[in-house]
Symmetry: C2
Subunit: 200 residues, 2 copies
């Protein structure tokens, strides 16, 4: 096995080749918003629609990351940042492999989201899932707002910890003002425009 | 957005549905062996062949993991284990998304590979890329064996740190005894049998 052979095989597959084969480019769509704003719901609905169109997409959220890749991390500010960093690096690999990444994370700090942007590069798209905390709290899908108000959960985003809303997201959804179907349709439309192949 | 709607959307896409759409199942093929044994070369060659067959595969190796996801880790035994753990968790996500994972890591400790197996589950396949250290050292593609012999690199697997060869790998390649093409062909054949859909 000569070095020539090794170099011939190494890195032979480009992202462009994968995109041509898949019929779409890959990118990272980062949904940020309060707990209960609808991030995961929208991400999963969009994933299903992309799948039905024959496109490769995958949802990243607390459910599949916190129990595995980031199971060693707490919810301290340092560990939250490291959590976001690892997700960003993982999504970068997924995007290289040709998969559209739909990331649903509260990610309350603008600095952390900027770090994701720096890691992922130009394929990063920030989507703000905007919803007043009162509405999120009324939904309280997980029952965490109640516990946070009672002080049984500390540093809960929107209650006892800050949420820094994106100033200029690529897309802003208002899930208290528009029906779910509309948020999903707008997200899908935005994504389809982003992943379209440059040339036929 | 009612809780009913949320539950309806969550987790709607199963691995089986993705496999049907892709025309193949996903799994994790873990190539372990000394530096210079040919792991990365074989992995990239197999990836290209799978790609040419229209299948989704992705190579994980030091090049794309050590600079990103695991850039905060050193080469100490603890950090090597954490490095392997994160790769395993990442591959688990890739496999869930439908991608065939080709992992090329020295991963010298049997315990670390067993941990990968425990994380990934039944989709884990261990492939031993076997090659005598003398042959690897002669190749010395990266020039690291020379530095290790001179003591300029400490704890180098096969020189000054142990390599625990798998006792019962799913597949064993002998890259000093068989030509590269044969190792690639045998690996591909094994993988194709593993990822075949159970039903037409």
């Amino acid at each position: 096995m000569s070095q020539t052979v090794i170099q011939k095989f190494q890195g032979a597959l480009t992202r462009a080749a994968r995109a041509r084969q898949n019929g779409h480019r890959a990118a990272v769509f980062w949904l940020t918003g309060l707990s209960g704003s609808g991030k995961s719901t929208i991400a999963h609905a969009v994933e299903k629609k992309l799948f039905d169109m024959g496109k490769h997409a995958f949802v990243f959220d607390g459910d599949n990351v916190r129990h595995g890749l980031c199971s060693d991390l707490s919810f301290s500010p340092e560990h939250r940042s490291e959590n976001i960093r690892r997700i960003a690096e993982t999504c970068k690999l997924f995007a290289e492999s040709g998969t559209i990444c739909l990331c649903a994370f509260i990610s309350p700090m603008a600095a952390d989201r900027q770090r994701v942007h720096a890691i992922v590069g130009e394929d990063f798209h920030e989507i703000h899932v905007s919803c007043p905390v009162e509405v999120c709290e009324e939904r309280d899908v997980k029952g965490f707002y109640k516990l946070a108000r009672e002080g049984k959960i500390k540093n809960y985003t929107g209650v006892s910890a800050p949420y820094e809303a994106p100033e200029t997201p690529a897309l802003r959804l208002s899930t208290a003002a528009e029906p779910l179907e509309q948020s999903v349709a707008r997200t899908l439309e935005y994504i389809l425009a982003c992943i379209e192949l440059a040339e036929p």
